[in-house]
């Protein structure tokens, strides 16, 4: 740790008693193996049950937002609805399109689901637990290069959709697959760029260190608000959720890439969508909302790491993740879909420059704050370092959302029409309207 980033170095030295790089005992190989297997089994169970419940949650949330009650017939309050859906999908006839590419047709749904699952390997979902057999990390595979692994896996997610679109041998499916590849490639760049400031601040790519750093100087949503917004929007695009659901686009593409899928294969895409959502939510909470960190206290970040702390931090992490899942649903039932040109313009002409500019600003700010030796920990548990970044972000947010957001972020169709042409079109529209009114009045007489 000799080449430690100044921020982390300061945390390591910072009073009062903030020993984040504390000493611990490595577990024996047997314990490690057993713990890993147990973690996988428990995680897999929780994950799949959560994904199943999310399909119900989506229907419930949509119903409530539309003044309905949602499914409430199967089991208490409709809780067994996912089981009924699963049973139905298994029993249904499975059809495969003729002239489709058989093996790829089967591979598509699997490829859509697996990357979402793999991402979870490195996400820390609770504070480490110092058991009597040694420290047990509460991530399935706590890689030191955690974040890079996530970037690598996230870019695999597109293959499932593209393969499905191609193998279906259907115009609409292919269009859906093409759209999704264009969309995901465009937004992956802004997504990657928006996370660079997080790494700048943490000075490390291990996710547990990113969490600990946020515990010390405040969550990144306050330190790096713009990066959070860019990541949030990119996460919506990456998971193909409204307003970025162009690959599905029921009204244009008849649900796009999964038009030809039926039965359990269709179900797999459905599961993959929610799995992706859950993964994106977990990433959002890990990178920007402190991960498993319990807010307003450092109690959970310091030794001794007891089982109680592990349990509580897990619950906190779960709550944060579910909050973001709810946000995904909330936005879905609020916003209409973008036009294709709006999507591309937002990705390339707005998000990417903003993300790039933000890297420069944050890098300069961190450099300046380090130069003036702004302390990480101040009185009342506040962090002057974090507060300085927060002030910077408030200014940037005002600039971005008040001044820049004037028909530039999402532009109407008339945005690229010259002023004179616009005036002519408006006059023509008025004339046409008058003519139609006259016609209908005549017909009425």
């Amino acid at each position: 740790m000799s080449a430690m980033h100044p921020v982390l170095a300061q945390i390591a030295l910072a009073p009062p008693g903030l020993h984040l790089a504390d000493s611990f005992r490595e577990p024996s190989f047997g314990v490690w193996l057993l713990a890993t297997i147990l973690k996988m089994v428990v995680f897999f169970t929780i994950y799949l049950v959560t994904v199943a419940m999310l399909t119900l949650a989506e229907r419930k949330v949509s119903a409530w937002m539309q003044g309905r009650l949602g499914p409430n017939r199967v089991g208490p309050g409709g809780l067994l609805q996912p089981a009924a859906d699963g049973l139905k999908n298994i029993m249904k006839e499975e059809t495969a399109p003729p002239f489709g590419a058989g093996a790829l047709f089967t591979l598509g749904p699997a490829m859509a689901f697996i990357p979402a699952l793999m991402t979870w390997a490195v996400i820390p979902f609770a504070a480490p637990w110092d058991s009597s057999w040694g420290r047990i990390e509460l991530a399935l595979a706590p890689l030191p290069v955690g974040f890079l692994y996530i970037l690598a896996i996230a870019s695999l997610g597109i293959y499932g959709i593209v393969i499905a679109g191609w193998a279906s041998n259907n115009k609409y499916s292919l269009l859906g697959g093409l759209r999704s590849s264009a969309q995901m490639v465009s937004y992956e760049i802004s997504m990657g760029m928006s996370t660079i400031p997080v790494l700048l601040l943490a000075g490390n790519v291990a996710l547990n260190d990113i969490v600990q750093q946020q515990a010390a100087i405040g969550w990144n949503v306050l330190n790096l608000t713009i990066a959070f917004f860019v990541f949030l929007v990119a996460a919506f695009a990456e998971t193909n959720r409204l307003p970025f659901d162009l690959p599905e686009a029921e009204s244009e593409l008849i649900t796009g890439y999964h038009t030809e899928y039926s039965s359990m294969k269709f179900s797999m895409f459905f599961i993959a969508e929610y799995a992706n959502m859950l993964t994106a939510s977990a990433l959002l909470s890990t990178l920007f909302f402190g991960g498993w960190d319990i807010p307003f206290t450092l109690w959970d970040n310091l030794a001794p790491h007891t089982g109680l702390k592990t349990l509580l931090t897990f619950l906190v992490f779960f709550a944060k993740t579910l909050f973001f899942v709810f946000t995904f649903m909330w936005v879905r039932w609020t916003l209409p879909r973008f036009r294709y040109d709006q999507l591309m313009a937002l990705g390339w002409r707005f998000m990417l420059p903003v993300a790039l500019g933000y890297i420069v600003i944050v890098a300069s700010a961190v450099l300046a704050l380090d130069y003036f030796d702004v302390p990480l920990r101040g009185p009342f548990g506040l962090s002057p370092f974090g507060l300085a970044l927060l002030a910077l972000n408030v200014v940037l947010c005002i600039v971005l959302f008040v001044w820049l957001d004037r028909g530039r972020i999402i532009s109407p169709a008339s945005a690229r029409v010259s002023g004179a042409e616009l005036a002519r079109l408006r006059a023509a529209a008025v004339q046409r309207h008058a003519r139609q009114t006259a016609l209908t009045t005549e017909a009425g007489d």
């Binding site: 949330v61 119903a63 409530w64 937002m65 539309q66 003044g67 309905r68 009650l69 909330w330 936005v331 039932w333 609020t334 916003l335 959302f401 957001d405 004037r406 028909g407 972020i409 999402i410 532009s411 109407p412 169709a413 008339s414 945005a415 029409v417 042409e421 616009l422 079109l425 408006r426 023509a428 529209a429």
Partner: protein, 165 residues
């Protein structure tokens, strides 16, 4: 530029996507937490149907349990769908009664003419809509079945009282 492009009335400087999004999200959130939901919990909870609802038929009976029908033959004559089958009979006192009275509810168009034309107020269309059957034959209601129905009957439109007051 093609004709028919929708042109925004406001200048572009006044449009804000983020503010519009946030106000939209506030609106959907208010709807979500609003306890008033419009769903009717059928079958536990049923909407009231109009007193002039015309559903499946019912044959009213006299006090001694016989059908009021005198087999005059007006309803099969007036029926535009030709769904009423009536075979008249006559007992020793010379009273006419239906030997066979069948209504095919699949052919019926629920116009209510039969009720309107009936001199004895015997056949009625009912205020009733749960008619599921497992076979097509089940929808041919015979006299016994028509008499066994208990649902309320339609109040026909009265020209003297068009609003049903």
């Amino acid at each position: 530029m093609a004709i028919g492009v929708k042109v925004l009335d406001r200048p572009i400087e006044q449009t804000s996507y983020i503010r519009a999004t946030l106000s939209g999200m506030a609106r959907t959130f208010r709807h979500m937490v609003d306890p008033h939901k419009v769903t009717t919990q059928y079958p536990e909870q049923k909407d009231a149907i109009s007193p002039r609802w015309r559903g499946t038929h019912r044959m009213l009976t006299t006090e001694d349990g016989k059908a009021k029908c005198v087999a005059c033959g007006l309803c099969p004559s007036v029926c535009p769908a030709n769904c009423i089958k009536l075979v008249p009979g006559e007992d020793e006192q010379g009273n006419r009664y239906p030997l066979v009275f069948e209504i095919d509810e699949f052919r019926c168009i629920f116009c209510g003419y039969c009720q309107e034309v009936c001199p004895e107020e015997a056949i009625h269309v009912g205020r009733h809509y749960e008619n599921a059957e497992y076979s097509r034959e089940g929808f041919v209601y015979d006299l016994e079945r028509l008499m066994a129905q208990t649902h309320p009957v339609c109040e026909m439109w009265d020209p003297a009282d068009p609003k049903g007051e």
